[in-house]
Structure formats: structure tokens, C-alpha cells
């Protein structure tokens, strides 16, 4: 999660596929990612230092609606 309220979605075995989206498009982007990768079962949310906890939790909630296991990372 970036300071400018955008989100960079990283997928692939080593996170090599990177897509920048608006935070409002997260649900649709995850849905499409799930269609392409049905085996997708977990995600890690990492945020820039200044991103508010409210925004982090909001994104986690959206992600939890699409992916079974969502964790916080970056520490």
C-alpha cells in the first residue's frame, strides 16, 4: 500500500508480476487474480510507513473477502 492511496499488487512465485491499481479497485483486481490463479490462498499486506491503520485494515477486509488467509507483513 502506497502513500498516494494506490496499491501495488505483486503476484507470481517471487512476486515478479507487479500491477499498480487504485485502492478502490482492489476487490475487482483480486477477483481477476483469483480467476487466473485459482490456487491463490494467501496474501501479505505491506504498507508504506505513513499509511494509516484504518486504510490498512480496510484493505485487509477487502482482501479477506477474496482470499482465505491475509496477513500483515513488512516487519
Amino acid at each position: 500500500m502506497k502513500d498516494d492511496h494506490s496499491i501495488v499488487l505483486k503476484s507470481g512465485t517471487f512476486g515478479q508480476i507487479s500491477t499498480r491499481i487504485a485502492s478502490s479497485d482492489l476487490a475487482a483486481a483480486l477477483e481477476s487474480l483469483k480467476v487466473k490463479n485459482p490456487e491463490l490462498k494467501s496474501a501479505i499486506v505491506i504498507a508504506d510507513n505513513s499509511v494509516s491503520y484504518r486504510d490498512v485494515m480496510a484493505s485487509m477486509e477487502v482482501a479477506k473477502g477474496k482470499i482465505a488467509q491475509v496477513n500483515l507483513g513488512g516487519f
Binding site: M1, N49, Y53, R54, A58, M60, F75
Partner: protein, 161 residues
């Protein structure tokens, strides 16, 4: 002529039926105790020891009790006691190590680890943070917790209907 006995009108027997309710009463008492216990947990309010406004989230309500770390704008409390004073969600620069973890909080978490409730993965910790806290502050709390062996960390939110 013999008529089969069952075809004749039978005289009503003046019998009083006794209902045995002892077992049923026992079952109701057990159910009542169970319901009372459940409701006492449902209604268990949580009042943070410091003024803060957790983010709202929908989804399932999971009741859990464990050591709580509360992150407010000017203080970090652990188990209801103030362990670090922060200024506008910022830890002092001298308190943050190279990995962004709070040294003061790490010491407090190490002391509390001995008495903390444990789950299947390890010691349990519930993080109750103000919604305005920057992720930097959340990391400064989560990093020392993970290092001190709190491997079952839950993030508390206020439940949005």
C-alpha cells in the same frame, strides 16, 4: 354367542397419568446454565485503558481474551499499564532500533511473555490500535512482539454492522 371383547364398548378407566419431569427439568437447568454463560460472554464489554478509536470492520466476531497492547496517539499500554509515551503516534528516535522496533516495548513484552496466555502457535497478543496510527507505529509494536515469541497476534477492530 361370543363377541370378541375388543369390539365391545370399553369402560373408561379412571386412571391418572403421572408425568415424570425430573429428567426434563435436569436438562432445562443444564441448558439454562449454558445459555447464561454464553450470554455473559456475548455481552462482555471491552473498555480500552487509554482513549483510542479502533478502525471499524465487518465480518465475523471472534471473542478472544489475551494480553492486549493498546496504541493511542500519546501512549502505548501493555496489559492496561503505560509502557511507552509517544508523541502523535511517534516513538522517540532513540527508542527505535534499526529494524523499526521499539526497544522499550520489547523489554515490556519480554517481561509479560512469562505470564501471557498461549495458543497453538505461541503466546497470544491482541493489538488494539487507533485508526489514525501510521503503519510505521504498528510495525514498531508488531516487530518486537514477533521477536519476543508472540506468534498468535490478533488485530482488534470495532465491529461495524
Amino acid at each position: 354367542m361370543k363377541i370378541k371383547k375388543s369390539f365391545l364398548p370399553q369402560a373408561k378407566k379412571n386412571e391418572q397419568m403421572a408425568l415424570q419431569i425430573t429428567s426434563m427439568a435436569d436438562i432445562f437447568v443444564i441448558i439454562l446454565v449454558f445459555l447464561l454463560k454464553s450470554y455473559s460472554v456475548e455481552g462482555l464489554p471491552y473498555q480500552p485503558s487509554v482513549a483510542l478509536n479502533p478502525p471499524a470492520a465487518k465480518g465475523r466476531v471472534e471473542k478472544s481474551d489475551a494480553l492486549k497492547v493498546e496504541i493511542a496517539k500519546s501512549a502505548v499500554n501493555l496489559g492496561g499499564k503505560n509502557v511507552a509515551t509517544i508523541d502523535g503516534f511517534k516513538f522517540g528516535k532513540n527508542d527505535i532500533d534499526s529494524d523499526g522496533a521499539s526497544a522499550t516495548l520489547r523489554r515490556a513484552l519480554a517481561v509479560s511473555h512469562r505470564t501471557a496466555a498461549t495458543g497453538p502457535k505461541g503466546a497470544k497478543l491482541i493489538v488494539v490500535a487507533d485508526e489514525g496510527a501510521p503503519y510505521e507505529t504498528i510495525k514498531a509494536v508488531l516487530a518486537p512482539a514477533a521477536r519476543e515469541g508472540y506468534l498468535e497476534i490478533q488485530l482488534a477492530v470495532s465491529h461495524a454492522e
